[in-house]
């Protein structure tokens, strides 16, 4: 078994997980989905390479990764659309090996929504109730309730094919949730929506999940979407889980350079390790100088190549025109190469002064724009302020 699969419990997250009380509750709830040593092959292609994970009841869990990393395969494995070659998938403590997709306590929202175009909205939502012994009136009431829940009250008689993308998405949700599954699986549900709609649906999905209390498993390649919506995120590369953590821990304490690169923007500067003792590591960072870092700021899995690197987020540094007073514990001179204005934020590409008079590799720094404060110009000199506590050492 490859050692990159086992993921240690989040090593003292830099910040508390959001809604810490919520996560404490989730940790106390029972496991809903358990995957143990799951392997899946397509011919010679090893799609899932020993997946181990536990998703708890009521959790909003995301599988995040680039295309081809196996996240959708894992979701379809849980749904029962794909068999596995070895390992165990348990849902609610029951082995799913012999249970086909139509008998599993899971329902899926497909990437294309898979709304039946020849049926009305109400017929779509009621589709899964065909084998339900309840009376017609009771079923109709259930359909109305489900449509109301997703904000489509009164849409029942409409033709499904006449709906907009966002409405289809809601119908797909209502159609799955009306069956009260134990787990709702969402395969890139927001990727077909435009940006505004997507942001709105993210918030609505969170609300809906809290309201129904069902375990949600979301597949996405959009790191922002995963960070916004999830209680925990599993980052996957090449059929393995690279890191499984709270969104905050994932962002501030990525275990490897690859994860750091995938989640948001991360600056990397090459370092030389000078000395190491029980408490700290002394490093010399290009552009930043000598720093003592505690071991808690060393990434668990380090750099993927030999060269040790220091990583930091764009917002970990401040940048001001040269000469303006700053409060940051460490300060460096820099030259601004590029200024990208986003309205609320500005991104700067800057190169830091080296001790020998040369400049470092460019780093990206983001600053929230404040009314009345000038934005430094391209080509001018600036002062960059930072704190050693925001750095991560990948070695």
């Amino acid at each position: 078994m490859n050692d990159t699969i086992k993921v240690a419990a989040p090593a003292t997250p830099a910040r508390k997980p959001k809604a810490a009380t919520r996560y404490a509750e989730l940790q106390a709830s029972k496991p809903m989905i358990e995957c143990r040593e799951v392997h899946k092959y397509y011919g010679d292609y090893h799609a899932l390479r020993g997946i181990d994970l536990t998703i708890r009841e009521g959790e909003f869990f995301s599988l995040l990764g680039p295309s081809g990393c196996g996240k959708t395969t894992l979701l379809r494995t849980i749904a029962g659309f794909e068999g596995i070659n070895s390992g165990v998938v348990l849902i609610d403590d029951k082995d799913m090996a012999a249970v086909p997709a139509n008998k599993r306590p899971t329902n899926m929202v497909f990437q294309s929504y898979a709304i039946f175009p020849h049926l009305t909205v109400a017929e779509n939502v009621a589709f899964g109730l065909r084998r339900d012994p309840r009376s017609k009136a009771e079923k109709a009431a259930a359909v109305d309730e489900a449509l109301k829940m997703v904000g489509l009250a009164g849409y029942g008689k409409r033709a499904a094919h006449a709906l907009s993308g966002g409405q289809r998405q809601r119908v797909a949700l209502a159609r799955a949730l009306i069956l009260k599954p134990k787990v709702l699986l969402l395969d890139e549900p927001l990727s077909a929506l435009d940006r505004k709609m997507r942001e709105q649906m993210q918030v609505e999905l969170i609300k809906l999940q809290r309201q129904v209390g069902i375990t949600f498993v979301l597949v996405t390649h959009d790191q922002e979407e995963a960070l916004v919506m999830s209680d925990r995120i599993a980052v996957m590369f090449e059929g393995q889980i690279a890191q499984l953590d709270y969104p905050e821990a994932l962002y501030s304490r990525p275990v490897s350079r690859r994860v750091a690169d995938f989640i948001g923007v991360m600056n990397f500067l090459p370092v030389t390790i000078l000395s190491e003792d029980a408490d700290t590591i002394r490093v010399d960072v290009e552009g930043l100088g000598e720093i003592d870092l505690p071991h808690s700021q060393v990434a668990a899995k380090g750099a993927d190549d030999e060269q040790p690197m220091i990583g930091f987020r764009p917002e970990a540094m401040n940048i001001f025109p040269e000469g303006q007073p700053q409060t940051a514990p460490r300060q460096n001179g820099a030259v601004i190469d590029e200024v990208v204005y986003y309205g609320d934020m500005t991104y700067y590409d800057a190169r830091l002064d080296e001790a020998d008079g040369t400049l470092s590799a460019p780093v990206r720094i983001s600053m929230r724009n404040v009314f009345g404060r000038d934005i430094p110009d391209v080509g001018t000199r600036a002062t960059v302020g930072w704190s050693p506590s925001s750095l991560i050492l990948f070695r």
Binding site: A79, K103, N107, S112, F116, H118, A159, H161
Partner: protein
């Protein structure tokens, strides 16, 4: 005027296509026995003769039975083949599909002759049943072509969604896939019906003593006095074709509207 050359070409083209067909009803109602202008007078006699002609009625009935049966057989087999080829991967798929589609490009006379040889060799009595077999064979590639398009245009997740919602594989197919490919099925039925109805060579080789419409019409062309009756028959067939086409187009458009697809043209 810009493009007038093309306009004249288009008009000439349409005249060339449809003028002969327009002549059918004209001579069908002409009281003269010779197919030539000037016209003599109006009569419905030829239609009466047509209805009274027992061989013709029999040929018509035979053709109808053959066309209906081969349309149904070819479409059913086409559904299986198209579904298998669009949904599943199996060994030698390309080869098998190629062999099924081969009659599309094989000269019909070859098909007819080899079928005749085989049928005679195994001692099957020639009848309209043997014609149905032959027609099913040549209609199959057309139905597969039409139905593959219909099956291919379906989102694969539709079936999975139905399965996920608790249906069995069969009921998912019946409740979701079948209604959505219905326009394709109707197209395939009509296409093979039309192909079978006017097919001559296979019918001529395999029908034995039974007449079909095309073989009957061919046999009557030798007798000048029966030509006006053929004209009347032709008129009836043209009217029937137009009706059939209209019905087909109505269902096709309704299917497109119901599933909310874009109308990419059809027959009309």
């Amino acid at each position: 005027m810009k493009g007038s050359g093309l306009r004249i070409y288009a008009i000439a083209y349409l005249i060339f296509l449809y003028a002969p067909i327009l002549l059918l009803p004209i001579f069908a109602f002409n009281s003269g026995t010779i197919i030539a202008f000037p016209l003599k007078g109006f009569t419905a006699d030829w239609f009466m003769q047509m209805l009274a002609n027992e061989t013709l009625r029999r040929a018509f009935l035979n053709s109808l039975i053959i066309a209906l049966s081969s349309a149904i057989f070819a479409t059913c087999l086409g559904i299986f083949a198209a579904r298998a080829s669009t949904r599943f991967d199996f060994p030698a798929k390309t080869g098998i599909m190629g062999l099924i589609m081969l009659p599309l490009v094989l000269p019909e006379i070859i098909v007819a002759m080899s079928l005749l040889v085989v049928l005679l060799a195994i001692g099957v009595q020639l009848s309209i049943f043997t014609v149905i077999l032959g027609h099913t064979l040549i209609c199959l590639p057309y139905t597969i072509a039409i139905l593959s398009t219909a099956f291919n245009s379906l989102d694969k997740s539709l079936e999975e969604a139905a399965y996920d919602l608790g249906e069995t594989k069969w009921s998912a197919f019946r409740l979701v896939i079948l209604p959505l490919v219905m326009p394709g099925i109707i197209s395939a039925l009509l296409m093979s019906f039309t192909i079978s109805l006017d097919e001559f060579i296979i019918a001529f080789f395999l029908a034995g003593n039974e007449p079909t419409l095309p073989t009957y019409i061919f046999s009557q062309l030798r007798f000048p006095k029966s030509i006006p009756v053929i004209m009347a028959l032709g008129t009836v067939l043209v009217v029937m074709s137009i009706l059939l086409l209209t019905v087909a187009e109505y269902f096709r458009r309704r299917g497109v509207a119901r599933t909310g697809g874009q109308d990419h043209g059809g027959f009309l």
